[in-house]
């Protein structure tokens, strides 16, 4: 059993905290949360055993999960790897000076720096992998993306079972120590996730296609309807289940999505361009009352049924 430290007690961090503790992977879950309200809520809800300062979390935890928006995660993972490096050097020096006392101290207090692992759970993988590529402790970092979530955020959005049955991407595992990868595979296995191994750059291309574009189309749909329907009561009255599900992702937070869209800019632009083309094709068919063309487009779109149940 491990001490797991989770930095960022939002939907993803909080939901991990619940299931890692409840399912016996973590003996103890430490949380780091810079928003005081969220920290207090996380304790009150019982997501974590303790909320501790960042530095203490890095010292005490065996596994550190960085679950903050992707803009901050890149710097944070690098900083944690720096601390691993400093810790490893300090212990090496201490054991050179007085091997017996140094070992006794290490065993009595904190897990060995060399055994610690840090993981991120970001929706973009290329920048974080590039930024850490040459770090001397790169092998202690495992870059992952659990493909699960809801449109809600904050510790109150955390829920048990969020990850069950979903896919978890492992990016560039060849740069991580095999033992570290194995430990993190066990962690996600406890969360009931299917591992998928992928190059970081490929990950960003595919998630732009399948996940990021869905958010952009939802945001644009909400903007359109809010713009056109000045009378909000009409939206409420006329929104059937179809509209609600299509616009659901438009509730997603700017804190999370601004950095995803800028970090993955090129791929997102590429897929947005294709999307705008398809929309224009549809527009033209409707404008021309071209029933055959509309039917062909809809029937082509219907192929998604075979893939998504």
């Amino acid at each position: 059993m491990k001490t797991v430290g989770i930095i960022g007690l939002g939907l993803i961090g909080g939901s991990m905290a619940i299931d890692l503790k409840r399912r016996g992977f973590a003996s103890q879950v430490l949380g780091v949360e810079q928003v005081p309200l969220n920290a207090e809520a996380a304790l009150k809800i019982g997501l974590v055993d303790e909320v501790v300062p960042y530095q203490e979390c890095v010292e005490r935890a065996d596994i550190i999960v960085v679950a903050v928006p992707v803009g901050s995660a890149v710097g944070l993972v690098s900083d944690i790897l720096d601390r691993f490096h400093a810790g490893e050097e300090a212990s090496a020096n201490a054991s050179l000076r007085d091997p017996v006392r140094a070992n006794a101290f290490a065993e009595a207090s904190f897990p060995a720096w060399k055994e610690k692992i840090v993981i991120d759970v970001c929706s973009t993988k290329e920048q974080i992998c590039l930024a850490t590529h040459y770090h001397p402790c790169r092998r202690q970092f495992v870059s992952t993306h659990p493909m699960a979530g809801t449109e809600y955020s904050g510790p109150w959005a955390a829920m048990p079972g969020l990850f069950d049955g979903r896919a978890c991407i492992f990016a560039n595992t060849e740069e991580s120590a095999p033992k570290a990868v194995k430990t993190i595979e066990e962690l996600y296995d406890v969360l009931n996730m299917r591992p998928i191994y992928m190059n970081a750059a490929n990950h960003d291309v595919h998630t732009a296609y399948v996940s990021h574009i869905s958010h952009v189309t939802s945001f644009a749909l909400a903007l359109t309807v809010l713009d056109k329907e000045k009378d909000e009561k009409h939206i409420f009255d006329l929104a059937s289940g179809g509209f609600s599900s299509t616009v659901r992702l438009a509730k997603s937070s700017a804190d999370m999505w601004v950095p995803i869209l800028t970090q993955n800019r090129d791929n997102v632009l590429h897929v947005m361009d294709t999307y705008i083309e398809k929309m224009n094709a549809f527009r033209e068919a409707v404008a021309n009352y071209d029933e055959d063309r509309i039917r062909a487009l809809i029937e082509e779109a219907n192929r998604i049924k075979k893939i998504i149940r």
Copy 2:
């Protein structure tokens, strides 16, 4: 208790059949279905008591529900009103010739032609109201749009409780007989729907904004992803809940949506143009790494939270 005839045993017609019978509004439900497989399935599933020919349904039913795609519904409602008219004239003539026998015959066999009501359940209302506006039996027609549905179709998609708690639009009720409107209000009350009264032209504007555009954006999303992701396994692996719910409507049938989009062409084009503008604004902000602008757009879109829970 009424004999209800339902023409078109798909998702909407079939689901109405289930609840109108189960909740005691209909003593008997007759179905008309031109696809032999669907007719057989509807009987097997037990959606209706009998599947009968179209003409027999019009003769025997007190209330006729036209639940076919909007392209066919316009002609069908007019034809049913023609039959009401012919029936009324024939009974009037018969009772002139031999009042006693004619009345006895009418009482013994079919409900009086003058008491019959036809309703449609179409997603567009302007054309059907225009087409029937001058019909001598217009008052026996009540034009409605129950705002409920799923992305599935056919008798096997029918389900109990589909309409519970949703809104039902009544269009141009001033053209219908008050008694007919009252009967149809009772019918939808049994289905637990909230009535909303609206002018047909307004209905088509608002549903373009809130419902039709959601379908178009979903179709375009499916087309984009299918085009970009040649490897379908990636779509399956990477589709988190967000993508599935945004693309859900892209499973909707061409039979239903081709006529909706062409009948409501002007409104749909208008809202598509606004949508394409919003998408381009988003594209520009991402292209320029303009984080403030992206944030402003997302936060504006987030306002949908206040309206749709």
